[in-house]
Symmetry: C2
């Protein structure tokens, strides 16, 4: 390597460095713009985030000024900082979250303060020498036991913060080294400042643009049903239609057909944690708007689990659509009718259920669609039984058969969802929009009476007229408990725990 090449390299290096340096302001500008855009998007996606930020700022300014303007509460002294601390730590996005933390903090401080004073008194009985040892042992034992209790799923879900504050307060009080009479004054001060901070948070979070966890849960579950409905309503057309147009069909790798299908259902696959935490917070909330105090929030988890079950099946169907095996057009045309009907009726049923949830009205309007989808399922079975193909190419039949089979599973799942929404409508007393009694003069109203497992054959919607068969199929399905398929769904959060 000679000197010339080295100096050339150096020159290239400096030129590169200079280029990067010149580009720096531009890059910085681009970075700032991209950050500003993402801030704007974050605020536009959910304006409540901006409002929440202002609410926290307001609560903190109020409490801080109270703390700053010392003459107002000279009695509190330095304990006033606990009010600031409480506001910062306790203020959550939802009302339920804030209330849960406030109440946890208040009760834990009260309990731990009392126990701490007791521990101090108990330790003082052992004299100057024994006191620190006894206190150390007490702190060790209580902290270890309380920490272990946080591993219980039930305590973790609802009282985790309370246990944390319990350990904190107990340790602080026990080892503060004050005399008991001083401690009582201190505890009183601390508790009153915590109550002041907590009350500020609770009032602001409830009365200024409240974000109710329960309402969020309600909307999230209903919108999950809608997402499933959008996919299913579009599915039949896209899968069967595009094949007619293109020949090779949706199966082509460029995802031509797939792009028509709404992929929103994918967010449902991982919705379990957020639904559970919302249900958990909702339990702490007072009655608000359309939701009274003892609203059956845990029932939403059941509907959510069924919606996830349905999303798993759709995920499987998505795989079939993108399969590289050429689907048999002949076989497809044989089952197109029932399959399209099954998927569109399931979609309509889900949409009706979602609307009924959103408006909190009786979900009976979904029943005809559920019945139609059941009838279409029977039709598919008859179509399959009746069909015969000469020189059948089984390879080409497989993907179509899979779509049919998974659609049957989806239809069964929709029936369970419909039952769960009906149960919710009864527990939550949704308003009735149809007559609850059967008048013999209106036989066409019978199909709107699918309540509490009373299943009737609907001869006018099942176009083959085999009403006996319909009843048998329904019984097979309704004996199947909704939780049976997903035994782990309620393992983390038991029904009684939400």
């Amino acid at each position: 390597m000679d000197i010339g090449s080295t100096s050339q390299e150096k020159a290239r290096f400096f030129a590169g460095a200079w280029g990067r340096f010149k580009a720096l302001p531009g890059q910085l500008m681009a970075r700032i713009i991209s950050i500003a855009k993402s801030i704007k998007k974050l605020g536009q996606d959910d304006p409540r985030r901006l409002i929440h930020s202002f609410k926290v700022g307001l609560a903190l300014s109020l409490v801080s000024l109270l703390y700053y303007a010392r003459p107002l509460y000279d009695g509190f002294g330095v304990a006033g900082m606990w009010a600031v601390l409480t506001v910062v730590v306790v203020f959550e996005f939802t009302v339920g979250g804030t209330l849960s933390k406030c109440l946890n903090r208040g009760f834990a401080t009260f309990l731990a303060g009392g126990l701490g004073i007791g521990a101090d008194y108990f330790a003082s009985l052992f004299g100057k020498q024994g006191e620190p040892i006894v206190l150390g042992i007490l702190v060790f034992v209580l902290a270890a036991a309380a920490t272990f209790s946080r591993f219980f799923p039930r305590i973790k879900a609802r009282y985790d913060y309370g246990v944390l504050i319990f350990i904190l307060t107990f340790s602080l009080v026990a080892v503060s080294g004050y005399r008991v009479d001083e401690l009582v004054v201190l505890a009183h001060q601390r508790l009153s400042t915590i109550i002041m901070g907590g009350a500020t948070c609770m009032l602001i979070s409830i009365f200024i643009c409240p974000v109710w966890a329960g309402e969020d849960l309600h909307k999230a579950v209903a919108s999950n049903l809608e997402k499933l409905a959008t996919y299913l309503e579009g599915f039949g057309d896209v899968y069967f239609q595009s094949c007619k147009d293109e020949g090779s069909g949706v199966g082509s790798k460029d995802g031509n057909g797939k792009s028509f299908l709404h992929q929103g259902y994918k967010s449902i696959l991982n919705s379990k944690n957020s639904e559970e935490s919302l249900a958990n917070f909702a339990r702490w909330e007072p009655g608000h708007g359309r939701f009274p105090l003892r609203y059956p929030w845990k029932h939403y988890l059941k509907i959510g689990a069924l919606a996830r079950q349905c999303a798993y099946q759709i995920e499987a169907i998505n795989g079939c659509i993108n399969s590289d095996i050429q689907a048999s057009e002949e076989f497809k045309s044989k089952i197109e009718g029932p399959c399209s009907r099954m998927s569109s009726e399931c979609g309509k049923a889900l949409k009706a259920l979602a609307t009924s949830m959103k408006t909190m009205t009786d979900p009976s309007s979904a029943n005809p669609h559920v019945e139609n989808s059941k009838a279409a399922m029977k039709d598919l079975k008859f179509a399959l039984k009746a069909s015969s193909m000469e020189n059948a190419d089984f390879l080409a039949i497989v993907p179509v058969a899979t779509v049919g089979s998974v659609l049957v599973e989806i239809t069964k799942c929709i029936q369970k969802i419909s039952e769960a929404v009906h149960e919710l409508s009864q527990r939550a007393h949704f308003s009735k929009t149809v007559e609850p009694t059967v008048s013999p003069e209106k036989p066409q109203q019978q199909q709107q009476l699918l309540h509490r497992g009373i299943v009737r054959p609907v001869p006018d919607t099942s176009d083959d007229g085999n009403s006996d068969d319909v009843v048998i199929t329904i019984e097979e399905i309704t004996t199947d408990s909704p939780e049976k398929g997903r035994p782990d769904q309620h393992r983390v959060l038991k029904p009684g725990q939400v």
Copy 2:
């Protein structure tokens, strides 16, 4: 209602109440026993929970005694309670969690303390009247901005606690009303006690029975692969064998066949959140054991996402097994060979991949099984193309066809998992156990060379000899990016963010 019946009712009521009262000690005893059992089970499931509880107790006792024994650090005074507070709030189950909180707390306190002193100085320029107003505005603006920043997924995932402490410290310092020179002393005291508490936590969590988040993630992902393997290895035998024995087969509603199948895969369906938080904590951990400092933790999320994808498919297959449609024995026997082989080879491949991850050795031992499963997939296609059935009952064919079709999807998924594990083995420098070069004298070693997308036809395992077809199929599969199927998988936690 006469008096007699009323007094009878009263008597019945009291008898019932007395009965309940007598049963109380028994119920209490039963309740205590059940709680004790669940405590024992919790400890046995993961003994590290007990150890963690003792570690927290120890850290707290140490810091408390230091705080109690005032002569030791008279300089700190009441600020010593911040050490206790830090220990309680910061000590997490995993080393990564503890380090993340400690570092977040330390840096946030330092930064916010500095800014708070600056704000105090700035506000003092406005005189006695203007000071509280300026301070109030400053606290409001900074608290609102910082709260809003917590909605950014990237900040939420890694710096949430830091932002919280920033708001807290800034408000406390800004409104403390001390003069700047006093504040510097106070900030010094507080920072040093926080560092003392944090250091105690870090030392205890790293040196006494450490629980590494990275190791947990490593084990969790490998064990997820094993769970899938257990299901797939058992599937072929259970599905095809039990049908031969019973006639009506696994399809029967009592779940006779299903009970043989390991349902452990269900826990994978909702594994996303725990994997993401473990990967997040793992990034904070220093190098430990087999994992050096810059270990590619985010790559585990990719493998985890693929494992979930596979679990969704298995969930769909589970639906088919429990279908109420009688499956065609004739058609079943036609595809039994390739299907059983596909499922068992996929299971073996997954088991080999899991073992390779656990032992951190080269995953080449899985390659023959992956190749075999591909060959079985081809065989299935040929078997389907070649088969012809007279008077085929399509209704009975559908469930069997679905099982075959979903198995094909699973096989494709296993290939992607294998590629992802190979990529991990290269990034994480797993130890090589086989020769990395091809010697022309050993053609049977070619099949162990499936690295970085270099795919070779393996004529000796594909028993139909159509090696051209094999290449085409593989290319179709490898061009499919692993993330393509799950666009939402990395939305919450971007690759760069973990």
